[in-house]
C-alpha cells in the first residue's frame, strides 16, 4: 500500500469537507427547460431561427406560436423527426456535423444549440458554423465546473453525476463537456462577445457573470461576432 495514497485522500476530503455531500437529489428529475423561457423571451418577433439538434421540436413550436418566427429544425433521430412533422415543424434530417455549407452566411437571425454542444464530435466546427449561418448564436450547456461536479469527482473519485448530468460514464451522450471558463476562453479567442447570458443555479435563473463558473449548473449564452 502506498502511504501517499491515504495522505492524498485525507487532504482532498478535508479540502472538500466544507461542502457537505448534497442532499440526495433525484437524478431522474432534471431541471425544467428553463432555457426555453429565456429564449422565447429574448428572440424578437418574426426572427429567422435555426435549431441545431431541435429534438422533437418543442422549442421551435413555442417560438413559432409565441413569436411567429420562421423556424427550421435540424435533427438526426428518426423518432424526433416524426414528432417534428407532427408538430408541423420544418425538419431537416441530416447530421449537421457533416456541414451546412448550403446555408449562406447570415441566413438566420438566431442559431440555437440547446443542450447539444457537449454531445458533438467536433464542437468547435459547429460553433463556427453557428456564427457563420446566424447573426446570433444561442448556446446552452451544463457547466462541468459547478461545485457539486467538482466535489463529486474530487471527493468520490468517480465520474460526476448530477441532475444536469444524470448519465453513467459509459452511457452518456455527453462526450465533450466543458466549463464556463472554457466557453469564455473560446469567446475571447474567437473575437466574439456575449450579447446576453443567464445562469441556472438552485432552481433560479440569474444574469450571467464570468464568476458563475463555480455556482452555475447550466448556462445560456447569446453570442455574436464583435463588429
Amino acid at each position: 500500500m502506498n502511504p501517499m495514497r491515504n495522505e492524498y485522500e485525507k487532504k482532498i476530503r478535508e479540502a472538500f469537507s466544507f461542502f457537505e455531500s448534497p442532499e440526495s437529489e433525484s437524478l431522474s428529475v432534471r431541471p425544467k427547460r428553463w432555457q426555453d423561457d429565456i429564449i422565447a423571451g429574448l428572440i424578437p418577433e418574426g426572427s429567422k431561427v435555426l435549431d441545431f439538434g431541435c429534438g422533437s421540436g418543442e422549442l421551435l413550436d413555442r417560438l413559432i406560436r409565441e413569436k411567429r418566427v420562421f423556424g427550421q429544425g435540424i435533427e438526426h433521430d428518426p423518432e424526433n423527426v416524426f414528432r417534428c412533422l407532427e408538430r408541423k415543424i420544418a425538419v431537416f434530417q441530416i447530421n449537421f456535423e457533416k456541414g451546412l455549407q448550403f446555408y449562406g452566411d447570415g441566413t438566420f437571425d438566431y442559431v440555437i444549440l440547446e443542450d447539444t454542444i457537449q454531445t458533438l464530435k467536433r464542437p468547435m466546427a459547429a460553433l463556427k458554423e453557428m456564427l457563420r449561418i446566424g447573426t446570433y448564436g444561442i448556446i446552452t450547456c451544463p457547466n462541468f465546473a459547478h461545485w457539486k461536479v467538482r466535489r463529486f469527482l474530487a471527493a468520490e473519485g468517480r465520474m460526476p453525476k448530477s441532475r444536469t448530468l444524470p448519465y453513467e460514464w459509459y452511457d452518456t451522450p455527453n462526450i465533450h463537456l466543458c466549463t464556463v471558463k472554457d466557453i469564455i476562453e473560446w469567446i475571447n479567442e474567437n473575437g466574439l462577445r456575449i450579447a446576453a447570458g443567464y445562469s441556472f443555479s438552485d432552481n433560479a435563473v440569474s444574469v450571467f457573470s464570468e464568476e458563475d463558473d463555480l455556482l452555475a449548473e447550466e448556462v445560456l449564452l447569446v453570442v455574436r461576432k464583435s463588429v
Partner: protein
Amino acid sequence: MDSVTRYDLPDSSRSVGFTKAGRMTVADRDNPFLTDSGVLLPHVEVEYETYGTLNNDKSNCILICHALSGDAHVAGWDACWEKENRPWRENRPGWWDNVVGPGKGIDTNRYFVICSNVLGGCYGTTGPASVNPDTGRPYGLSFPVVTVSDWVRVQKRLLELLGFSHIYAVVGGSLGGQQALEWALAYPQFMEKAVILASADKLSPQGLAFNTVGRHSIMSDPHFCDGNYYGKEKPDKGLAMARMLANITYLSEESFHDKFGREFQYTENPAYNFQIEYKVESYLNHQGLSFVHRFDANSYLYITKAMDYYDAAARWGSGNLEEALSRISADLLMVSFKTDWLYTPEQSLEIAKVLARLGKPVNYVLVDSRKGHDGFLLETEAVSRVLDAFLKKEDSDEPDEE
C-alpha cells in the same frame, strides 16, 4: 412485393373496399392536347379512381401520382376485374393499398384521393395501344413521345374538369415523385403541399443506362415489329427482360441478401444446367413473366423515355436547379430511402439543400431501410407515419363527419 404482405380485404374497415374507375375525356378535336414534343392529340381519355369524400369547401383533395408500372388503382379491390380484363387484380388490391385507406397514412376518412393513369400508359388512359382516330388503327410508335410535364398538364385538365382549381396536396414516389415535383414547379399555387418520395429532379446517368438497355431489349425482340404488334404475337420476351433488369434497380444489395441469399429455389445441389436454379433467378423470371401479362411494351418505351427526359432544372431554370426551385411555394416534403440506388438519398438531399439555400422551409426525411428503391412501397409503417404527420392539418383533429 413481399410474399408475406397481408392484404386488407374489401370488407375490412381499413380498406376502401371495391373500386370502380372513372373515365374522362380531357382532350377532343375542339380542345386538343399539345404535347411537349409538338404533336396535337385529337382525343385523350383518362382513367382515374377516387376514394374518400370531398368536403364542403373542397379543401381535402390529394392527388397521387403513380410510378412507372403503376395505374390509377391505388387502393381497394377492382370491382370490374374479369378473366379477360385485368385478371391479375383478382387477388390483389391497388398498388399502394397499405398506405392509402381508412385510418392509413393517406387517410381516406380525411382526404378525397384521386389518381389517374398517365398519358401513354396502358391502364385506360390514351396511349400507344389506343386507336388513332385519324387512322382507325392503334398508334403504336406513331404515338407522340410524352413527358412528365405532359402528364401533369393532362392531370390538371382532369382535375379542372372534376371541378378543382386548387388541391390540398400532391403525393408521388419514384417517377410519381417527379410528377409531384413538376406539379409544384408548373403550378406553384395549385397545391398547399407536395410529397416527393424516393425521387429526384432528374434521373442519374446510371438510371438512363438501365432504361436504355430495357428499351433495347424490347425493340430487339423479333415480335416487336416497330411497335405494330397489336393483334399479333407480342414482344413478351423483350418486355420481360426489361422488367427483370429494372427490378434489379428497385432492390438493394441488402434486400437481395435478405430476400434470396444464394439459395437454390428447388434443389440443394447444383443441377449443372442452365435452368432456373437460384431463388433470385426464379424471382426475376417470375417478375418478368407476370409483367408481360399486365403491361404493354410500347407503353414501357414511352414511360421510360419520359423518365429519362425529366429534368426539373432544365425545364424551369435553364439548367439551374436553384432558379427552378425558387418557383415553388408549396410546402415540400422529401422522403428518401437509405439503400435506394436508383434515386439516391443524395439526390433528394440536393433538392432539400437547394430549398435551404433559397431560405424556404425544408422537410427532408431519410428512412432507414434495407429495401432499396422499393422502400417507398414496402416501408409501410415509416412512410405512413411520415405522410400522416406531414399531411394532417393542425386544426382538424378528427375527420369531418358528414
